[in-house]
């Protein structure tokens, strides 16, 4: 009975969260001003420079100090295609000159926190640093902008991006939350590394202090360009590496929210303990774990072996059961499941390893192994020593492969050693790997499956796959892109089975019900400007 009540409570809380998200502005309450938002962050800040960092440990506490050129719509963050201007004016511009030129008008009312007005020169200097960094200056997302030929600022309110060829990946790349707009004056006067340790943004909050390893504090920016916002007086981002501390912090109201995501059990515990004082928002998550066979090692150079491994995975069953204990849920292919370019269930079921008839799939897998002379195959499987969801999914894979007669030895290592194995030593048969992105940008995200990609560790070359990708990259029509992506997906996941997609992650954000205005996005990197959050504390 108690269990039934718990389930009912969780359903009600999740339902309330989803309803809040879905009801939109029509039913929105009038935001109240004031209050400090305390939130917990499970990772640490390597530096303040968004252009070189890749972790949410930096984004969550630092993003509120900065603006972007464009961003995902904070009122509709679940949409993978809804982008709005941040420091630009009006709507996100449509391309001209056959899709190779984007002209942005910059708002005249944007000011940096030191009081200087923002102009197009600042935007140009920022994107020059991101896209064309000088030697010795790191830029983590330079590869996102391979299509960009030049950035220019013909007048103080205009920025023009000239592309080498039209591509659908450009606008999502611009909205990446790491692309903080820096002041040209700061870059000129202090050098391109100054922002690693200093902050002068134009975001909703001004930097107050960082107590290293403990917290970051921000205070409301009264000159913020979205008038009336932010609603909060300030925020405090508290570092809490242990999951249990973060959960308890919300329970004990030391923090109101954690933006990354909790496993289902912790959601249930919080709802059980706090009832309607907790609201739960849930979403598919733009992260996925992959099983990568090492094709430099025999017999994994044989496509039949790789196909057998993917055929042996019961994704639909895994979705049902693993989602009760881990932050994974959705069955999908190479593209984020909710995107218009993603495969439908019918399309997925045509791929090897996506059938609901597991008996037939496993029989086919065992036949393939036998034909390849690899019955009773032994696999050295490298995994990362992180519980959610690596170890859970890894252990599940071991069990799945056991059912097709594959004897898997799982080697779990801490992150540094795991990466040394994956990237340097390459002494694994199959490794867990992952693709975790911020803005959903299918055309950029699916490069992971190319043997030539710097973050692909399968040790293979596939000219056919590269050729399909080249066509996708240069295709201007969504219909054509969709059809090409299906061909790409079939080649990568089924015919060659270069990588096996396991389950897409599922984001669960239980938060104090007095936190209003924040809507869950399909990535823990997104919707972190905090400018639309307010506190309803009565």
């Amino acid at each position: 009975m108690t269990n039934a009540y718990s389930k009912l409570a969780v359903s009600l809380a999740v339902g309330a969260g989803l309803a809040l998200g879905a009801s939109g502005a029509a039913k929105a309450q009038t935001p109240k001003k004031g209050g400090i938002l305390n939130f917990v962050v499970g990772s640490k800040i390597p530096s303040y420079d968004g252009h070189k960092e890749t972790t949410f440990g930096m984004i969550h506490p630092i993003r509120p100090f900065y603006s972007l050129l464009i961003r995902i719509n904070p009122d509709n963050p679940s949409s993978p295609t809804d982008f709005v201007c941040d420091v630009c004016e009006g709507d996100v511009p449509k391309p001209t000159e056959d899709g190779t030129k984007y002209t942005f008008k910059i708002r005249k009312d944007v000011k940096f926190h030191n009081g200087t007005p923002m102009t197009s020169a600042d935007v140009k200097a920022t994107y020059d640093k991101i896209i064309f960094p000088p030697k010795g200056i790191p830029s983590a997302r330079k590869a996102f902008f391979k299509a960009v030929e030049s950035v220019s600022a013909p007048d103080p309110t205009t920025v023009v991006f000239k592309l080498k060829f039209p591509t659908g990946s450009f606008i999502p790349a611009l909205a990446t939350p790491f692309n903080f707009i820096y002041s040209k004056a700061d870059l000129d006067a202090n050098g391109l590394t100054w922002h690693a340790k200093n902050i002068n943004g134009s975001g909703a909050f001004k930097f107050v202090q960082e107590q290293k390893g403990s917290f970051v504090e921000g205070v409301r920016n009264p000159d913020y360009h979205f008038k009336g916002q932010p609603y909060l007086d300030g925020f405090k981002a508290i570092s809490a590496p242990k999951l249990a501390v973060r959960v308890n912090a919300i329970r004990g109201d030391r923090a109101a929210i954690e933006f990354r995501g909790f496993p289902p059990k912790h959601r249930d515990d919080l709802v059980k303990a706090l009832g309607d004082k907790i609201t739960v928002q849930e979403s598919d998550w733009n992260c996925v774990l992959l099983a990568t066979p090492n094709q430099k090692r025999k017999p994994f150079d044989d496509a039949r072996i790789r196909q057998a491994l993917t055929l042996g995975i019961d994704r639909w069953g895994g979705s049902k059961y693993l989602s009760r204990i881990a932050i994974v849920k959705t069955v999908g292919g190479v593209v984020f499941p909710n995107h218009p370019l993603a495969a439908t269930k019918d399309e997925l079921m045509k791929l090897k390893g996506y059938s609901t008839d597991m008996e037939a799939s496993r029989a086919e897998a065992m036949k393939l192994l036998k034909d390849a002379g690899a019955a009773g195959l032994k696999v050295d499987f490298s995994n990362r020593g992180v519980d959610q969801p690596y170890k859970v999914v890894g252990t599940w894979l071991v069990d799945q492969w056991k059912k097709i007669g594959v004897n898997t030895e799982q080697r779990v290592q801490p992150s540094p050693q795991f990466y040394a194995t994956l990237r340097k030593k390459k002494d694994f048969d199959v490794s867990i790997d992952f693709n975790c992105q911020s803005v959903i940008n299918p055309i950029a995200d699916i490069t992971k499956f190319l043997g030539s990609a710097g973050n692909n560790y399968g040790e293979y070359e596939d000219a056919d796959l590269e050729a399909i990708y080249d066509k996708i990259l240069r295709s201007g029509s969504e219909t054509e892109q969709r059809s090409l992506i299906r061909a790409y997906e079939t080649r990568a996941l089924s015919e060659q089975a270069h990588l096996a997609v396991t389950l897409w992650w599922y984001k669960i954000n239980p938060h104090r019900s007095y936190v209003k205005g924040w809507k869950i996005a399909p990535s823990h990197y997104l919707n972190q400007s905090l400018d639309n959050i307010w506190l309803d504390k009565g």
Binding site: I45, T54, A240, P241, G252, R254, S415, Q417, A420, K425
Partner: protein, 323 residues
């Protein structure tokens, strides 16, 4: 005495050097690299040229011997270098956490002393009575129970207990405020880890006090004191306790040194931004420089503590002569 002190000070040098060699080369044997982790750790494409550049900037491309010389020379000049993860000076990173760790260590030592000495005395004086058994069970439980586990119980107990009593769950603050800025908030955060670690620490000291006092109480001079008709209270407090405290002081001092860098798990449980947490983070992120400097700091604390204890012996027991 001064010759002994000088000799002991000189002996610290080979100890520190040995620790430096050990930690430096042991860390380099672990596979992995801070640059790989930082640039490729989120699954993004990481340009190999940028990884090489990062390694060059951090001096990781230099031969190991040169890196070691840099480390030793820097240490001798009190220049501990920069954190490989944050780029901030190691002294700044450690300085921030040292204050908190020191406060927890002092508070835990106070808790331990307040529990251990009275209980140890009672247990010895009332040997084999019911109160002795209670104290022994209490102290064995303290030894058996890891302090981080007790910490988890304390937090859950506070959350559940306060919700049951007041309708709203309460837990200690999770961000640190120095005691001179807000004493109440500071103490409401740090008293719980101090109790959790102090209890375990007191358990060892209680048993040590009991056994040392029992031994002393059987000495001839105690029997003589009793024969002279001195009150038991005076015999215990004035004649026996001071001599029995020698091993207790040693235990308390070594535990204090351990608390300064060894509260790795307890600090995580209470989200304390101390040296233990910094240790875990620096090992996890392959920040060699931070890790080796933290190890050297802990070694230094142990060496200095042992030195101070040796000096304290002379005060506690004038029969000890250093030559």
């Amino acid at each position: 005495m001064s010759k002994y002190i000088f000799k002991r000070l000189l002996m610290m040098i080979p100890t520190l050097f040995g620790a430096a060699v050990f930690v430096f080369f042991l860390l380099r044997m672990i596979p992995g690299d801070v640059c790989e982790l930082r640039l490729a750790g989120t699954g993004l494409y990481a340009d190999p040229a940028e990884i090489l550049l990062c390694q060059k900037n951090l001096g990781l491309d230099q031969p190991l011997f040169l890196q070691f010389i840099d480390f030793i020379v820097g240490y001798m000049k009190f220049d501990l270098g920069l954190s490989m993860w944050t780029g901030s000076p190691v002294t700044e990173e450690i300085g921030l956490r040292f204050e908190l760790s020191l406060q927890v260590a002092i508070m835990a030592t106070l808790v331990a002393t307040v529990i251990a000495i009275p209980l140890g005395i009672i247990s010895a004086v009332r040997q084999d009575s019911w109160i002795d058994y209670v104290v022994r069970v209490f102290s064995i439980a303290g030894i058996a129970m890891p302090s981080f586990w007790l910490g988890i119980l304390i937090i859950l107990g506070l959350l559940i207990g306060t919700q049951a009593m007041f309708g709203t769950p309460w837990m200690p603050p999770i961000d640190y405020v120095p005691i001179w800025e807000d004493p109440m908030r500071n103490l409401s955060q740090l008293i719980w880890p101090a109790v959790a670690t102090g209890y375990r620490y007191s358990a060892v000291a209680t048993r040590m006090t009991r056994s040392a006092l029992l031994e002393v109480l059987r000495e001839d001079y105690v029997r003589t004191a009793r024969a002279k008709g001195l009150a038991e209270k005076i015999i215990v407090n004035r004649h026996a306790l001071k001599n029995a405290l020698l091993p207790v002081v040693t235990i308390l001092s070594i535990e204090f040194a351990f608390l300064m860098g060894g509260l790795v798990v307890t600090e995580q449980v209470f989200n304390l931004n101390g040296l233990g947490k910094l240790f875990v983070e620096s090992v996890g992120s392959q920040d060699f420089n931070m890790t080796q400097q933290l190890v050297m700091l802990v070694v230094l604390i142990f060496v200095v503590t042992n030195f101070v204890v040796d000096i304290l012996y002379a005060w506690l027991d004038p029969r000890i002569r250093y030559s």
